[in-house]
Symmetry: C2
Subunit: 499 residues, 2 copies
C-alpha cells in the first residue's frame, strides 16, 4: 500500500522566524517590565554529533530542541544569536575543512545558510566573540542571555552556550530559560500544521499496523511496519521516541520497548496489543497509542477495560477548554475508569472513597498526558512556580497547569494490571477493601490498555489531531479490512439530481 | 514479499564464553611470557543509556563494543569481570529501584543474568569492590586490568572502568587493550556465523531495494525499504552505520546520508545509485555497497566505471589469502582501476607512472577496506606498532596488516568523480598529464561507483560472505524481476529418467 499523504509537505523556515519573533517580543516585554535595558544577545549553542564510545560510529544527529525551535537548523555544530536591540538573527556555521567536501558533501557558503534558514546574517563559529562585539553599540561588556534551566521531566539542566572569548561578555543565566520555554508551550499555526502532519502520517501508520497484525508475529515486526510507513510515505526519519510495541502482559510495562525490553515477544491469540508510536516531522512530533486485540476481536474482558479507558479519554476531551486545570482532567479520567471498573465488579464500594484512597493510581500510575511539540515531553509543565503534587498518580503528572489556547497536550488514560502495584494494594487495609480479589485474579497476565491522542486546545474547546479508529466496532472493522476513515454514502452527488 | 531467512536464528551466548576464554588464554600467555603473576581481574564497564541534551528522551541503547564482545549483555549499566587466576567471570548488574517494575519491566533476579549470559556468578554494581576483594587470595592490593587505548579510526581513547572503591585496587592501563583488541581481529566460528547472517539478510534487503527502485522516488525511500526488510524479516533493530543512499552526484560523497546530507534527493533517470547499507545482528555487523543504474539499464559510461570497480573487487578477492599484505591489495585495486580508466580514455600514459604519482587516490581517496565485526570499523588495524602510510589514498587505509585466517575484512574499491580532488589534479603538473580533460568533463555529475563485499580470510584463500548480484547482466536481470540467486535448470530431476 502507499499513502494518501505522499509526498510530504514542503517545510517553510517561516515557522522559526515566527518563533524568534515571539521570543524577542516576550523577552523585550519582560525586560521593559523589569526596567532593564533592551540590548544584549540571546545566544544558543546547537547540538554536536556524538560518536559511540571510543569508536568512529556516529549516531544519526538530531538537533537540540531549543535550538531547533529558534533556528530550525538540521546540521550539527551551529550557534545562533538574536540581537535583543535590533532583532537581527545571526547563525554561526562551523568552518569545515576542505576534505569535508570529499567525505561528507558540498561545503555550503555562508550565504546558503542565510537564505535557507531565513536569518539576518551568517558567520563562522570561530567569529562569535568578534561578531557579537561588532554588533554591540552600547557601553560596557555586551550581555549574553544564555540558556540555563531545569527540565522537569528529566531533572537535567540545559547547558549554556560556550565559545572561545566568552569571558569578554557578561552572562545572564536566569532570564532566558523560562521565557523561551513559555514560548514553546503555546504553538503557532505553523507549528500546529507540522504536529498535524506528524499525527496524520502516524495515524495512518497505526492503521497499517493494525491491519497487518497477526498471531505468531513478533512485536518488533509491528514496530518495523510503523517505522517503514512513516519514513517511506511520510519522510519521517526520526520518531518522537522509541516505539513501545507491548503485547500480553508486556502491555502493563508503561515504557516497554527499550533495549532491555526490546519488543521481542511473539504475538499470541487472545492477547491485547498496546502500541505507543509516533513519528516526528521537521522536529515536531506526535505521540499516539492504540490498543487492540491481536486476533481482531475484543473479548468481554477486553471490551470492559478498553471501554473504561475510552470513556475516560472521551470525557477528558469533552471537558477540555482554556482555563480548565489539568489535575482536574487527570482526576476526571481516574473517576471514569474507577466507575467502569466498579460496574465490571473489579472494584467494590464507593467511588469517591476510592478516589480519596488514590485507588486510581493503582490502575493508572502515570499522568494523564503531557505537552507535546519539539520534544515528546515538551518543556514548560511546571513554569511560574507551579509545584508537583505528592499523591500517587498526581505526582507523575508532567504538568499541573491550566489549559490555554494553542497548547498541544496528549490525552492518554490507561488501565493496567501491574503486579508491582496490585499486590501491595491488595495487602493494604486502605485499598484492599475496594478490590475484588477473585475478579482481579482473572486479569492476571492481561496487561493493560492505553488510548493516547494529541489534542490542541482551541479558543472555545479542543481539537483531537489524532485520527485513529477508537470505538470497538471501528477497530474490529478496520482490522477486518474496512476502509478508514469510513466511506460515507453521499446523498448529494453528480448533478444534484436524486439518484 | 517475505524472506527465506525468517525466523532469525537463535543466538547462543556461547559466542561470548568463547571470546572470554580466548582473552583469558591470550592474557595468561602474555603474563607468563613477561614473568608476571597470573592473578588480578579484567574489569570492563558496559555502556549507559544516554538522554538527548537536557530532556528525558532516551536514545535506543546499543552496548559498548568491547563489553559486547566479552559479555554479550544487551542491557545498559552493567560491569563485567574476569578473574585472571581462576578464569571465573562475574557480571555486575545495576540494582534497580522497585518502581522500575512499573515503568520499565520485570526486575530480573541475579540468577537470571547468570544463566542467560553464561557467567560464573552475578552480583550488583554496588558490590564490585567488595566482591573482587573477596575473590582475591593473594597479598597486596588486587590488580585490575582496565581498558585504555587508542581507536585508530576515531582517534578516541576507550574509557577505563570507574566504580566506587576503585582506590583499593592497583590499576594496569596498558596490558589489556592490545591483547583484547587482537582477540577481536580473528573471528571464531560462532562470530562468523553471526556476521554471515547479517550479510545474508542485508544482501537480500539490497536486492529488495534494487527491485523497488524507480525514477522519481526519494533516496530515503530506498533506506526505508532496506531498514524495513532487515528488521521485519531479519530481526535487526540496529544497522552497522547510518545508511548511505546516494544517487547522481551524491554518489561521489563518500559518507553521504548523515544529518546534513540526509538521503533526500529525488531519483533521476540516467543516474547511478550507490547504496552502502548493512544490518547488525546481535552486535555483529555487515557492510555492503551495491551500485546500479536507477532505471535498471547501464549506459556505456556507467558500464565502464562499474566494470573498472568490479574488476578491482574481483582481482583483490582472487588474490586474498593469509600472508598477503593489505597495502598491496589496495595498490592492486588502484592499478586495476587505472588500467580500466586508461582503456576508457579517461586517463592517458603509463599506468606505473600514474601509480608513482598516486593518481589512484584521485579516483579512490578512501582505503580499500577495513576489519569488520562488532564495530563497522573493527579495531586492531594498526596493532603491534604498525604505522600509517603518508601517501594519498594509502593514508586512508584503516589497516596495513598482513591477512590472517579468521579476519573478516571489507573489499570496497570505488571510482568517483570528485570535483574537490579532480580540479587540483587537473591543475597540478604531476597529475594533469595523465588526465584526459575532455573525457573527464563528460563525467561531471556522474558521481561514483563503489562495490563492497565482506570477505572472510580462510586457511588457503578467502570466502565472500556477501551474496549480491555483481555482474552487470546479473544486476539488470534482478532489477527486471529475475530471481536471485539465479535458478539453475536441473538436468537431474524426478526419478532419474531422461525427461
Ligand atoms: Mn505520551
Ligand atoms: Mn565499509
Amino acid at each position: 500500500m502507499g499513502s494518501s499523504l505522499w509526498p510530504p509537505p514542503e517545510v517553510t523556515m517561516e515557522v522559526h522566524v515566527k518563533n524568534r519573533d515571539k521570543l524577542l517580543s516576550s523577552l523585550r516585554q519582560h525586560l521593559s517590565e523589569s526596567s532593564r535595558p533592551l540590548h544584549g544577545f540571546v545566544l544558543l549553542q546547537g547540538g554536536q554529533e556524538q560518536t559511540r564510545h571510543d569508536t568512529d560510529h556516529i549516531e544519526l544527529f538530531r538537533q537540540e530542541s531549543y535550538f531547533a525551535y529558534l533556528f530550525g537548523v538540521k546540521e550539527p555544530g551551529f550557534y545562533g544569536a538574536i540581537d535583543v536591540g535590533t532583532g537581527n538573527s545571526i547563525l554561526f556555521a562551523p568552518r569545515l575543512p576542505a576534505e569535508y567536501a570529499v567525505w561528507l558533501g558540498e561545503i555550503q557558503p555562508l550565504s546558503y545558510f542565510k537564505e535557507h534558514y531565513k536569518v539576518s546574517s551568517t558567520c563562522y563559529t570561530d567569529e562569535i566573540a568578534s561578531v557579537l562585539q561588532q554588533h554591540y553599540h552600547c557601553s560596557g561588556k555586551p550581555l549574553l542571555y544564555l540558556l540555563h534551566g531545569l527540565n522537569t521531566d528529566s531533572n537535567n539542566f540545559s547547558k549554556p552556550a560556550e565559545f572561545q572569548g566568552i569571558d569578554k561578555f557578561d552572562k545572564d543565566l536566569t532570564t532566558l530559560h523560562p521565557i523561551l520555554t513559555e514560548c514553546r508551550v503555546i504553538k503557532s499555526d505553523l507549528e500546529i500544521a507540522l504536529i498535524q502532519y506528524a499525527n496524520d502520517i502516524s495515524s495512518e501508520a497505526h492503521i497499517e499496523v493494525m491491519r497487518k497484525t497477526r498471531v505468531g508475529m513478533k512485536e518488533y515486526q509491528l514496530e518495523s511496519i510503523f517505522l517503514h510507513h512513516t519514513y517511506m510515505y511520510g519522510g519521517c526519519r526520526h520518531c518522537s521516541y522509541t516505539c513501545i510495541c507491548a503485547t500480553g502482559d508486556n502491555s502493563a510495562v508503561l515504557h516497554y520497548g527499550h533495549a532491555a525490553a526490546p519488543n521481542d515477544k511473539t504475538l499470541e491469540d487472545g492477547d491485547m496489543a498496546l502500541l505507543d508510536m509516533g513519528a516526528e516531522y521537521h522536529f515536531y512530533g506526535s505521540d499516539i497509542t492504540c490498543s487492540f486485540p491481536i486476533n481482531g476481536k475484543f473479548t468481554s474482558d477486553q471490551s470492559l477495560i478498553y471501554s473504561a479507558v475510552l470513556d475516560a479519554h472521551n470525557a477528558v476531551i469533552s471537558a477540555m477548554k482554556p482555563g480548565v486545570n489539568w489535575v482536574d482532567m487527570h482526576i476526571l479520567a481516574e473517576k471514569v475508569i474507577l466507575e467502569s471498573l466498579k460496574r465490571g465488579d473489579i472494584t467494590l464500594g464507593n467511588v469517591d472513597d476510592m478516589m480519596t484512597a488514590r485507588l486510581g493510581a493503582v490502575f493508572m500510575p502515570h499522568g494523564l498526558g503531557h505537552l507535546l511539540g519539539i520534544d515528546t515531553h515538551d518543556p514548560g509543565g511546571y513554569l511560574k512556580g507551579l509545584e508537583r503534587r505528592k499523591e500517587p498518580g498526581l505526582k507523575s503528572l508532567r504538568t499541573v497547569r491550566d489549559l490555554q489556547e494553542g497548547m498541544v497536550i496528549t490525552v492518554e488514560p490507561g488501565c493496567y494490571f501491574i503486579d508491582a502495584l496490585l499486590l501491595p494494594a491488595l495487602n493494604s487495609p486502605e485499598t484492599s477493601k475496594f478490590l475484588n480479589r477473585e475478579v482481579i485474579d482473572r486479569f492476571k497476565g492481561f496487561g493493560g490498555v492505553r488510548i493516547e491522542s494529541d489534542v490542541l486546545v482551541t479558543a472555545v474547546g479542543c481539537y483531537n489531531m489524532t485520527k485513529c479508529p477508537r470505538e470497538i466496532q471501528e477497530i474490529e472493522a478496520v482490522m477486518a479490512g474496512a476502509p478508514w476513515p469510513p466511506q460515507k454514502i453521499s446523498t448529494h452527488v453528480g448533478n444534484g439530481l436524486q439518484s
